[in-house]
C-alpha cells in the first residue's frame, strides 16, 4: 500500500522539481525570489491601500484641517459623532438604503434566477438584459433615472401622478431605492445563477421521484444548497449598500434625507476640511461592517 502511494508521488516530484531542488536552502531561495517578484505589487498595495487605511485610523484621533498640523484629541471625534444629529441621520439614511434597496433586490434576483435557470429559448438574452445596468456606471444610471423621476418624467406620466420624487423628504429615498434596485438586481442574479448551476440535478430528480412538487423541491433542496451563496450575496449587499455615494450625489445631492454615510464623510472631509472627524466616521463604518459581516457568517455556520 505504501509502495503504491509513494512511487507515483516520487515520480511526480522528480518530474516537477527544477534542477537543484533537492539541495539544502532551495525552498528558502525560491520563497525569496517569489517575494521579490511580488514586491512591486505589495509595495503599491501597501502605499495605496494599507497606509491610507492606517492613516485613517490614526487621523480619527486628531483634529486636522489639512492646513494646520494635526492636534491630538483622543476620542473626541467619536464622542462628537454619537451626539451629532447629522451623522445619525446619515447613518439612518444608509441603513434605510441598505434595507429598502438590497432586501428587494436580493429577493428579486433570487426569483429571477430560479426562473432563468431553466434552459429555454431567449434566456441568455434575458440574462444579458438584466446584467446590462450592472455594466453601466452609476453616474450614467443616475442621469437616466433623473430624467425618469422628474416631475414630468416617465414615471409620473406612466402612473398618472405628480409626485415630486426627487424633491421631497417623503419620496426621494424611495426614488433612489427604485433606481438602485433596477441597477443592482442583475449583479445578484448572476451570482445566484452560478449557485444554481451547482445544485446537483440528481438530488432534484430524487426529490421528484419521492413525490416532491416544485415548491417542496425549492424549499427542501434548492434553497438549503444555495445557503452559502446567499450569505455571500447578503454580505456583499450590505457592503455595497453602505458604500453607496453616486446615486445620492447625482439624483438629490444628498438633500431630502438622502445624505448617506459616504456622502457625509465626503462633505465633512473635503467641504468642511474636518479630516479627523471624517476619518472617525470611516473607522466607525469599518467596525460596523465588520460586525455585520461577522454576524452574517456566524448565522451561516449555525444554520449549516
Amino acid at each position: 500500500m505504501a509502495l503504491t502511494r509513494t512511487a507515483p508521488d516520487r515520480a511526480r516530484g522528480t518530474r516537477a522539481r527544477p534542477p537543484g531542488a533537492g539541495r539544502p536552502g532551495w525552498r528558502r531561495r525560491r520563497d525569496a525570489i517569489g517575494l521579490v517578484f511580488a514586491l512591486p505589487a505589495l509595495a503599491l498595495f501597501a502605499a495605496f491601500a494599507i497606509y491610507p487605511m492606517l492613516r485613517v485610523f490614526q487621523l480619527s484621533l486628531y483634529d486636522y484641517n489639512l492646513t494646520s498640523p494635526p492636534v491630538w484629541v483622543g476620542l473626541d471625534n467619536f464622542r462628537f459623532l454619537f451626539g451629532d444629529d447629522r451623522f445619525l441621520a446619515s447613518l439612518g439614511a444608509s441603513l434605510f438604503y441598505v434595507v429598502i434597496t438590497y432586501g428587494p433586490a436580493v429577493l428579486l434576483a433570487l426569483v429571477l434566477a430560479l426562473g432563468l435557470n431553466n434552459r429555454m429559448r431567449g434566456s441568455a438574452f434575458v440574462r444579458l438584459l438584466y446584467f446590462a445596468p450592472v455594466a453601466t456606471s452609476w453616474v450614467a444610471v443616475s442621469v437616466i433615472w433623473r430624467l425618469v423621476l422628474q416631475p414630468e418624467g416617465l414615471l409620473n406620466q406612466t402612473l398618472n401622478t405628480d409626485i415630486p420624487w426627487l424633491t421631497s423628504s417623503t419620496w426621494a429615498k424611495w426614488a433612489i431605492a427604485i433606481a438602485a434596485i433596477w441597477k443592482e438586481v442583475g449583479f445578484f442574479l448572476i451570482i445566484f445563477l452560478a449557485g444554481l448551476q451547482n445544485v446537483p440535478k440528481d438530488l432534484l430528480e430524487a426529490a421528484s421521484l419521492d413525490g416532491a412538487g416544485a415548491l417542496r423541491r425549492l424549499r427542501y433542496v434548492t434553497l438549503p444548497l444555495l445557503k452559502p451563496i446567499t450569505v455571500v450575496v447578503l454580505v456583499m449587499a450590505v457592503i455595497r449598500g453602505f458604500q453607496s455615494f453616486s446615486p445620492q450625489v447625482v439624483l438629490t445631492g444628498g438633500s431630502f434625507g438622502t445624505e448617506v454615510i459616504n456622502l457625509f464623510v465626503y462633505k465633512t472631509a473635503f467641504a468642511s476640511a474636518r479630516m479627523g472627524r471624517a476619518s472617525a466616521v470611516a473607522v466607525l463604518m469599518f467596525v460596523l461592517l465588520l460586525m455585520v459581516t461577522f454576524v452574517q457568517l456566524r448565522a451561516l455556520r449555525r444554520s449549516a
Binding site: I33, F37, A43, N65, T67, D84, P164, T167, F270, A273
Partner: protein, 432 residues
C-alpha cells in the same frame, strides 16, 4: 538558478519599483519650465461668457509675454468650492484663483492659503494707494480680519430684480410699474400664474445659492444667520424667521412658483427665466449677458428693476464679489500678480463683453458703462448693499440653511420650526 537569473529576478522588480516611485514623484508642481519659461495655472468656476473672455485675455497675455504659459481650467460649479479648497490645502492648487468673497473670508484667508496682495504689480506704492483706485468698501470681500488685502475684484455684484415685460403684458400688468415689495411680488405673481407663466421663484442650486438668497431677505428684515459675537445662531430671531416666511409664503401659500419643477442646472442658474418660463427673478449684473446669449427673445423683453423690499423706505441689498487672488504656495507669485493686473486693466471689456462690474472709481462714467442696460438700476443697487456674513466652518452653516429651506419650501415645515433645527446645527458648526 544561475547567478544571472538570480540577478534578473531581483533587478527587474527593483527597477519596476523605482520606475513607479519616480513616476509618482516626478511632478513636483514646479511652475518654471526649461529656458526660463514661466508656467501659471488659473482656475475659475464655469460661466460660459466669462470663460470665453478669460481665454481671450490669456491668449493676449501669452502673446505679449512669450515666456509665460497659462493653463486655464474651468471647474464645474457644484464642485468648484470643494476642489479649490482641497487643492489649495494640500499645496497642489493653481497659482491664480478666482473665488467668491464668502469662501475667501470664511475659509481661504483664515486658513492662510492666500498670498497678500502685491501693490507693486499694479503700479502702486502701497496697498492704500491700490485701494484708492476702487470704490470704498468694495475690496472688503477680500480682506482678512486684520485688514490685510488678498485680492482684487474680477466681478462685483449687487442684487436687482428682473421682469419679463411680455409676460407682464400677457397678465395685464404694467412693466413700468414693477413690484416694490414682496407683497407686490405675490400679487403680481398670482396674476402671471393665471396668465400661464411661473410668476416668480428663487433659484435652487447648491447650498451657497440657497444661503445667498436667504441672506438677501435677511438683510431686508434685519435678521441674520449668526449672533453679534459670531459664536451662535440668530436664525430663531423673529426677523430671521420673517425672511424665510417671505420665501415660504410666496411659494407655498401664494403659489407664484413651483419649487419642484425649478431648474437645478448650476451652469445656467437663470435658465427658467431665460427660457421664458419664469416671469420674475432676483438677478445680478453678470446674468444679463447670459440671458442675452441663452435666449435673445427673453433678452428683448427683459427689464431690470430695483429689488423688492420689505420696507421700501429703507431699502437694503446684498453685495458679493469674485476676486482674483494668488495661492500662497505658488512659486510664481510675482508673475501671477502681473497677470492679475493685466486682467483688471481690461475692466471695460469685462463690462462690455460679460457685464462684469470691476468697481474702479468712476466705473459708472466709463464709455462701457454707458452701454450697459439699466445702469441707473444697478447704480442704485450698488449704493445699498452689504457683504454676506461668514463664520467658522461656513460650508456646514450653508448646508444647515439649505436643509432648513428645503424642509420649509419643499416639505412644508413651518419656517420657525425649520430654522430652530437649523439653529442647532449652526451653533454646533461654529463652536466645534
Amino acid at each position: 538558478m544561475s547567478t544571472r537569473a538570480r540577478a534578473r529576478a531581483v533587478l527587474i522588480p527593483a527597477v519596476a519599483v523605482l520606475a513607479v516611485t519616480a513616476a509618482c514623484g516626478s511632478d513636483d508642481g514646479g511652475s518654471t519650465g526649461d529656458g526660463g519659461q514661466i508656467e501659471l495655472t488659473y482656475w475659475t468656476h464655469t460661466h460660459p461668457p466669462m470663460n470665453e473672455l478669460n481665454e481671450q485675455l490669456i491668449a493676449e497675455y501669452e502673446e505679449a509675454n512669450p515666456n509665460v504659459d497659462i493653463t486655464y481650467e474651468m471647474i464645474p460649479n457644484n464642485d468648484f468650492g470643494t476642489k479649490m479648497l482641497t487643492s489649495l490645502s494640500n499645496g497642489s492648487g493653481p497659482d491664480i484663483i478666482n473665488m467668491d468673497d464668502s469662501a475667501l473670508r470664511g475659509e481661504y484667508i483664515p486658513k492662510e492659503l492666500l498670498a497678500p496682495i502685491d501693490p507693486a504689480a499694479f503700479g502702486a506704492d502701497s496697498v492704500e494707494e491700490l485701494e484708492a483706485l476702487y470704490v470704498d468698501g468694495t475690496l472688503d470681500g477680500a480682506k482678512g480680519e486684520d485688514g490685510t488685502l488678498y485680492g482684487v475684484p474680477s466681478e462685483f455684484n449687487a442684487t436687482a430684480f428682473a421682469i419679463n415685460t411680455q409676460h407682464f403684458a400677457d397678465a395685464g400688468l404694467d412693466p413700468a410699474n414693477p413690484p416694490q415689495t414682496w407683497d407686490d411680488v405675490a400679487e403680481y405673481g398670482q396674476q402671471l400664474v393665471a396668465a400661464g407663466h411661473e410668476g416668480f421663484n428663487f433659484v435652487y442650486l447648491h447650498s451657497g445659492w440657497y444661503t445667498q438668497q436667504l441672506q438677501t431677505l435677511l438683510n431686508e428684515t434685519g435678521g441674520s444667520i449668526l449672533n453679534e459675537d459670531g459664536d451662535g445662531s440668530a436664525l430663531t430671531e423673529p426677523e430671521s424667521v420673517e425672511a424665510l416666511q417671505i420665501w415660504y409664503d410666496l411659494i407655498r401659500e401664494d403659489q407664484v412658483g413651483n419649487a419642484d419643477t425649478a431648474s437645478r442646472e448650476a451652469t445656467s442658474p437663470f435658465e427658467d427665466f431665460a427660457s421664458g418660463r419664469r416671469s420674475m427673478t432676483m438677478i445680478y449684473p453678470w446674468a444679463v449677458e447670459q440671458i442675452a446669449i441663452d435666449n435673445p427673445e427673453t433678452f428683448e423683453n427683459l427689464a431690470v428693476v430695483p429689488l423688492p423690499q420689505v420696507d421700501p423706505a429703507n431699502p437694503s441689498g446684498r453685495w458679493y464679489g469674485y476676486y482674483f487672488a494668488v495661492n500662497k504656495a505658488s512659486e510664481q507669485q510675482e508673475e501671477a500678480w502681473r497677470f492679475i493686473e493685466y486682467m483688471t486693466s481690461q475692466s471695460e471689456r469685462w463690462l462690455e463683453d460679460v457685464s462684469f462690474v470691476q468697481p474702479l472709481q468712476g466705473w459708472e462714467e466709463s464709455p462701457a458703462a454707458a452701454e450697459i442696460p439699466f445702469l441707473e438700476v444697478w447704480s442704485q443697487a450698488y449704493q445699498q448693499g452689504r457683504f454676506d456674513e461668514v463664520g467658522p466652518h461656513w460650508s456646514e452653516v450653508q448646508d444647515a440653511i439649505k436643509a432648513a429651506i428645503e424642509r420649509s419650501i419643499f416639505d412644508g415645515q413651518p419656517p420657525a420650526e425649520s430654522l430652530e433645527e437649523a439653529a442647532e446645527s449652526v451653533e454646533q458648526s461654529v463652536t466645534s
